[in-house]
Symmetry: C2
């Protein structure tokens, strides 16, 4: 998606060979107009699928997933990190390791909101090692939900996550795939 | 807001005299159509203010704040809980106590995204003891930003947060204020 790639080139900061900071527009400050365009693109890609729910994980996936759910006219469900006293009863649960936060999270989804009746589109802002996505996929499959698509805003193609998911046959689409980044020069090269 | 109150009566669950569960439509599964209507209502209320940014805190504030920012045509900034390796440099920071999670969080906002130039609308899904809101207000005031409004979806009027903020003169509007809840009968009474 050209608009997104241009924005990454303009405002993204390569702070190490593995870390691309896009907090100007995606995951701290959020450019809702850009996210609207991103959601429109995901709608174009996935509109022929019988999606009845968008599924993401808190926190930074929520913004983009909201707009995608709005475009598709379906509810959003977001998985929660760690147990909260307000979420009781039966839950699907797994653990994921966060590269960004350098820790392990418990991730839960109430069984009320995901079932074998659901045809879901998984949406997230970033895909690197796919730890978070693997967790969401595990929960979705435990629930018996059909994964109709996986939509990612930015994939770091030089890390192993995306390749692994494609090998396993998941219908993954990333709007911008970064082939390589150079922290010294700041250069970002996209996969064409 | 009548539509919201009806939804709370239909789908809200009083699980103790202090806990109202609305995870069917607000903070686990998200009804994006309802959130669109909520955002329209906040736009109506705050449209005459010179708001240039919507400000919230992860995670459950993000969904509603996204739609409000979209209606107002301004960016969203969300405060982050705990330090992430991707957020370096100068930040505004405070600590808040979460009733829901029964723990204390560090909350940070990059100084790049909040300044004395900003006229902000603070948006959150819930207001009870105002611990989270107090943290957001503290950060906003430290940044020198003007708080043009505070928009809350559900205020638990029987807890002290809202009254305290109104006494201190903050322009607080809650779309539904709960006067009392009864965990035994499930009854929910709104402030008129």
């Amino acid at each position: 998606m050209e608009l997104l790639k241009q924005r990454i080139l303009t405002d993204g900061v390569v702070s190490s060979d593995n870390v691309l900071k896009v907090d100007t527009f995606l995951n701290h400050q959020v450019d809702v107009e850009l996210l609207g365009a991103i959601a429109e693109e995901f709608e174009r890609i996935f509109q022929d699928k019988p999606i009845n729910k968008v599924f993401t994980i808190e926190s930074s996936g929520i913004a983009v997933a909201c707009f995608v759910a709005q475009r598709l006219g379906v509810p959003l469900v977001f998985a929660k990190k760690a147990q909260s006293v307000n979420l009781e009863g039966d839950v699907f649960a797994t653990r994921i390791e966060s590269y960004t936060h350098r820790r392990v999270f418990d991730v839960i989804v109430s069984k009320k909101y995901l079932s074998a009746e659901d045809h879901i589109l998984i949406v997230d802002d970033f895909l690197a090692n796919a730890c978070a996505l693997d967790g969401l996929i595990e929960i979705a499959e435990e629930a018996g939900a059909i994964i109709e698509g996986i939509g990612i805003v930015i994939e770091k193609g030089h890390q192993r996550g995306g390749a692994g998911l494609r090998e396993r046959g998941y219908p993954l689409t990333s709007l911008a795939i970064i082939e390589s980044m150079n922290a010294e020069t700041g250069e970002i090269i996209f996969r064409s």
